[in-house]
Amino acid sequence: MNDFFLTIILTLDATIRVSTPLILASMAGLFSERSGVVDIGLEGKMLASAFIAASAATVFGSPWIGLLAGILASCSLSMLHGFATITHRGDQIVSGVAINIFAAGMSIILGLAWFQQGGLTPTLTSDQRFLSLSLPGVDLFNNIPVIGTIYRELFSGHNLIVYLAFLIVPFIWWVVYRTRFGLQLRAVGENPKAVDTAGLSVNMLRYKALLVGGLLCGIAGAYLSIAHNAQFTRDMTAGQGFIALAALIFGKWKPYTVLSACLLFGFLDALAVRLQGVVIPGFGEIPVQLIEATPYLLTVILLAGFIGRAIPPKSVGQPYIKER
């Protein structure tokens, strides 16, 4: 029984760690898509940030410089996306896909050129990355049964970015629903004409949203290479940018529901890892692939209209052209 309890706690603990980049990336997508720009390039931006963050951390020996460099890389790609889709009204999907391909190729080429380790970055030492933090009072609670274990295993022992990801969600809710920027952001994704005739600049608002998205996406990428892991590996995002996008849709573009979707998808991922190779008598090995495919399946089912309805911001995907 005790063993089982610990297994659950550890799975939940893994859920938190796996969900972190999803939360940050989907919040990035939330800003971008709420402003009317489809952000399929989340994956590429995360990957670019992961690579640049690990490289900078290696070279400069500081996780903070790594994080900053990762954010810069991600923001540059965001601005590129903006230049193509906002200023020149290019197709948002095409631009996003281009960013994904660019990041996938460039991270390997530069990695080979810079570090000669087959596209990997050197393994980071502990002072070059974000380490797990021990929350105060772990020892104090340790003797209390159940609560002590939960506190020690689940709440304590994560790195800084994990705590940031969870704390940032209420802040983002507040920004989106309680500030002027949030109001304008929501309006520009719904009806850019209304924003334009109110004397506001549609393009400027969308650039701002993309910049915030780039920032969050950069943190998500840096988390992968200099916090969760200790080096950059090829294609280390492994589709998490797309899972984040799925979570954004599944969460109906609202901060808290998106957070729940990220946790659900993160949990499924953690579960798949935990169930790897587990044999159920009379059934055989659990098909882990099926569990891993669940986020996508759920999203498809949602989009088909079975679980409520996902209504995207009305003008998402459409470049704004002033007419008449």
Binding site: R180, L183, E190, N191, A194, V195, T197, L200, K322
Partner: protein, 518 residues
């Protein structure tokens, strides 16, 4: 503070799009505190002129003075600051926002919403009381009627400090009662010294509400009149540049057999909402039945179901003796073969394909016709020749069958579609919004053609939001409200007030019968 006699002075405004002058040396003076009408046909340059005034476009040359101050607008923000507010034809509202959120958008008064919302609420309540602009501030836009949405637009402009209010075709989507309300609001605004510019193509509105009127034609300002010293005929002539017959003349006609019979027809959409609910009526040969109603009350569904696009949920439709119900759908091409023609409401989306040439548009839906087909392929020269004849018959200009459909004006696109549907001499004609966005000259032409068709013993179903059109061409009128028949009346007994009350479903069933008999 503003003691200038003129709220707006425009001097020699020029605006070109490529080689075409949208505005050519346009001058306009609008007196402070007056209601000033601007009329003109489509493409006369009214909207361009107002867009320049609102800072949406920049004029190529010319001067703008607002309350005596010379201004140069680069964007709407500056126009708003100088006291100009605009109510666009298509509302500029965010549908899933509340009224108050829409109003403060762009003038939130601080980076946090809390304070702005509070002061806006007080101010809006005051404005609402002062001008009779009642609307629930916390309702979302999508839950409001069109009339209320328009009031939100006006509130929005006033909240931003508008002293000059420009309204672009404000009554197109309103019931007659809502229009009356709007005009009452105008009067209240005028009393408070607000200047109103009303852009419209409805002559009777100009006559009933404005103090002065300016007429535009072909990008130029052709006349300024004091409304009290002019009349509808005079204005219509100025607009078109020739004499126009405003009232269509038609003879009494004896009606023949029933060609179209609708019994207890209901249509449910995919969300299981009744779009049409238990509708019954019939149309005889030699008769025009007009379907009146505020747009969005089931007229579009009616046209779609009668033309075979939307399936019937329950009830029956008998078309020329063929029965159509929930189990037997007759497809649009089969209906065409039977002799039913359909001029759809939305010509851009359903009537034509923009990047097809005029000759291709002229056969859409009839492309299997043996007359224009060789054994395997279309006989293009025949199609072209045929289209050329249609174009001269129906006065489509320019008469070039190789021009892309997009490049024709709205009126000429409509004439082309009408020509296509009339060509095969249909026994039943369904025609939706035949004159929406069409200029006066073309309206007159299309009306004449519809009446000619009726006189030759055909049945016509006319759907229109223009009451004047419904009353002047139809023989009988059926009014729809919320998917149900809310009134039936002979057009010779109909007037705007009665129809308006029917459209708002004020009458109960019994009153309705009384109105019919009385």
């Amino acid at each position: 503070m503003e003691e200038s006699k003129y709220a707006i002075e425009l001097v020699d405004i020029d605006k070109r799009f490529g080689p075409v002058y949208a505005n050519n040396k346009v001058c306009l003076k609008v007196e402070t505190g007056s209601v000033h009408g601007i009329i003109g046909e489509n493409g006369a340059g009214k909207s361009t002129l107002m867009s320049i005034l609102y800072g949406f476009y920049k004029a190529d040359s010319g001067n703008i003075k607002v309350f005596g101050n010379k201004l140069q607008f680069n964007d709407s923000h500056q126009a708003i600051k100088s006291g100009i507010g605009m109510v666009h034809q298509h509302f500029m509202l965010v549908d899933n926002f509340t009224v108050i959120e829409n109003v403060i958008l762009g003038s939130e008064g601080g980076s946090l919403l809390h304070e702005g919302l509070k002061s806006a609420r007080d101010e809006l309540t005051r404005l609402g009381k002062e001008y009779g602009l009642k609307v629930d501030l916390d309702a979302t836009i999508e839950s409001l009627s069109v009339g209320s949405q328009q009031r939100v637009e006006i509130l929005k402009a006033l909240y931003k400090g508008a002293k000059i209010l420009i309204l672009d075709e404000p009554t197109g989507v309103l019931t007659p009662q809502e229009t009356q309300d709007l005009f009452r609001i105008f009067t209240a605004l005028k009393k408070e010294g607000v200047t109103i510019i009303l852009i419209t193509h409805k002559l009777h509105e100009i006559i009933s509400i404005t103090d002065n009127v300016s007429v535009m034609r072909g990008g130029k300002m052709v006349a300024h009149r004091q409304t009290s010293k002019t009349n509808r005929e005079d204005l219509a002539e100025l607009m078109v540049g020739r004499k126009v017959l405003l009232q269509v003349s038609k003879d009494e006609k004896i009606r023949g057999e029933v060609l179209l019979k609708v019994s207890n027809l209901s249509v449910r959409d995919s969300n299981n909402i009744d779009r049409l609910n238990d509708i019954s009526f019939e149309i005889h040969a030699g008769e025009i039945v007009g379907i009146a109603g505020v747009s969005g009350n089931g007229q579009s569904t009616l046209l779609k179901v009668l033309s075979g696009i939307t399936p019937v949920s329950s009830g029956t439709i008998e078309i020329l003796g063929h029965k159509m119900d929930a189990d037997n759908l007759i497809y649009p091409d089969q209906l065409r073969e039977l002799g039913l023609a359909h001029v759809p409401e939305d010509r851009q989306r359903m009537g034509l394909i923009g990047n097809f040439t005029a000759s291709e548009t002229s056969i859409i839906g009839y492309h299997n016709d043996k007359r224009i087909n060789d054994k395997l392929i279309l006989n293009n020269s025949k199609v072209r020749e045929n289209c050329k004849n249609l174009m001269s018959d129906f006065d489509v200009r320019p008469g070039n069958p190789d021009l892309r459909s997009d490049n024709f004006s709205g009126g000429n696109q409509q004439k082309l579609i009408v020509a296509r549907e009339f060509e095969r001499d249909p026994k039943i004609l369904l025609i939706g919004q035949p004159t929406r966005g069409v200029d006066i000259g073309a309206i007159e032409f299309i009306h004449k053609r519809i009446i000619a068709l009726r006189d030759s013993g055909r049945a016509v179903l006319l759907v229109s939001v223009e009451l004047e059109e419904i009353m002047s061409i139809s023989d009988r009128i059926v009014v729809l409200c919320d998917g149900q028949v809310s009134g039936r009346i002979d057009s010779k007994d109909a007037d705007e007030k009665t129809l308006g009350m029917m459209m708002a479903n004020v009458f109960s069933k019994e009153d309705n019968l009384e109105a019919l008999s009385g």
